[in-house]
Symmetry: C2
Subunit: 283 residues, 2 copies
């Protein structure tokens, strides 16, 4: 059951924040949804799921990406979940660092204690959340998925692990190969345990080799991104996609950094990429 927390009219549609109790995450969660005008007339519309990066919440994308204008025009819903489970019962980084724990769920299903009791963001994003939203809101089951940084990688993994569930994928500055990125290694070591073999199931550069679906990937990466070499490594994704014969458009955007100023500059291209699959007429 969704509980409405707030509502703002925007571009003729409506931005809403909801709270609900997540059985997958075993805690209360909040999320943001943008419903375009077309949905307010009762016609179910497709939805683009956006997975945000480290330290973000459900609000970051809705407030900073500048996506609602074109989404409203095109008739596309936007869904922004939070970046991790939250609450007093949810464990987090014991040293209080921002790159692990609360705000840093990495969109996987943790298998190691104590994280496995709550940190199951993959199942939450892929199953529980769409089921809930499509039951209660005018959303049809045509879904796209995108995201930024940790969430850009999350989008790739959610789509590759669940063929048939998404019709379109894209990413901004994904942590392309987390098994060899300091952020990813820290997260995987805690959430999944030290056995690196188990990490392969949650790393896009590994999953792409055996993906059962070849949805074309659109990936934008700024060349002035401070995290480019140490954390993001888009070349690893490029190599893995080439080896697998997976269609990838990797655009290196000269001079852009890791911020939402980068994202807002290219979000319209991504919305159009998703709309080509999500909004095309049947037949």
């Amino acid at each position: 059951m969704l509980q409405l927390l707030s509502e703002n009219q925007c571009f003729g549609g409506v931005h809403r924040r909801y709270g609900h109790s997540s059985s997958v995450l075993n805690c209360a969660m909040e999320l943001a949804v943008f419903l375009p005008p077309q949905a307010l007339c009762g016609r179910p519309v497709p939805a683009l799921y956006w997975l945000s990066g480290l330290t973000c919440t459900d609000q970051t994308f809705m407030q900073k990406a500048g996506a609602l204008r074109l989404a409203s025009e095109m008739g596309l819903a936007l869904v922004a979940p939070d970046t991790s489970p939250r609450g007093d019962t949810v464990p987090t980084d014991p040293d209080g660092h921002w790159d692990f724990g609360v705000g840093a769920g990495f969109y996987l299903n943790a298998t190691a204690a104590p994280w496995s009791a709550h940190y199951r963001m993959h199942d939450y994003v892929v199953q529980e959340l769409p089921e809930l939203l499509e039951a209660e809101l005018p959303l049809c089951p045509w879904r796209g998925i995108s995201g930024h940084s940790m969430g850009g990688h999350g989008a790739l993994v959610c789509a590759m692990r669940n063929p048939g569930r998404y019709r379109s994928i894209s990413a901004f500055a994904p942590i392309a190969h987390p098994s060899i990125s300091p952020w990813g290694e820290k997260a995987f070591r805690h959430y999944l345990g030290p056995d690196r073999a188990s990490w392969r199931e949650w790393d896009a550069c590994e999953l792409i080799a055996t993906a059962r679906e070849r949805l074309p990937l659109l990936v934008d990466q700024g060349t002035a991104d401070d995290f480019l070499e140490a954390q993001l490594r888009p070349q690893a994704l490029e190599r893995a996609a080439a080896a697998a014969g997976h269609p990838l458009t990797l655009r290196l955007q000269e001079g852009y950094d890791h911020s939402y100023f980068f994202i807002q500059s290219f979000i319209d291209d991504h919305l159009r990429h998703h709309a080509r699959e999500l909004l095309r007429e049947p037949g």
Copy 2:
């Protein structure tokens, strides 16, 4: 002297935050500027000054208004000052309320102690800041001014008190008649003292009667704005404009509230309103 604090490429232009020492405000200040691609080629461009509302900073508009896309396309610079003086030496609301003091400078020149030592946002916004920016950045002296709530009113007052200084004005949900608004009364009583006669010089509904310039005003106001009746009172501005014969387009936007979701929905209309005056070819 501007000191560059940060820089983000955005829509082919650049968003920058600067710090500088303000002699008018007697403290260090920070501000944000968006320079469109046209300015980066060295051609001076006009600038739209944006005055934010209570509790905001120089970052609110740049991150949440969705204005940079069209500003970049049109070749318009955006300037967002902070909402008050700040720092350890700057007095603020003794009870810690957010509607007065730091974050709530009301864009006037305080005359009462202890506020008059720092709270001179009018002279800062109208004189010191443009002089500094036009000396150091590729900005020409063609200026528009707009803002939201406290800043929407600030924009009206800055323009009406300084004929010839701005070529275009607009406002979102301005505190139209602060002398009779609880927010405005509290601020004016502290900043200007108890003599209500002195308040008239800082109230748009009073200034409009004797304005020496009749620049057309574009004002958007959401009908679902929680502050509409108690604080904003656009009808007072409408009556004052009619009595003065001042051109005003007041648009009541059905269902919109006081948030940046409202602002982003109509910011493009305002940018075009300003561009008609700021970007027209001479002759």
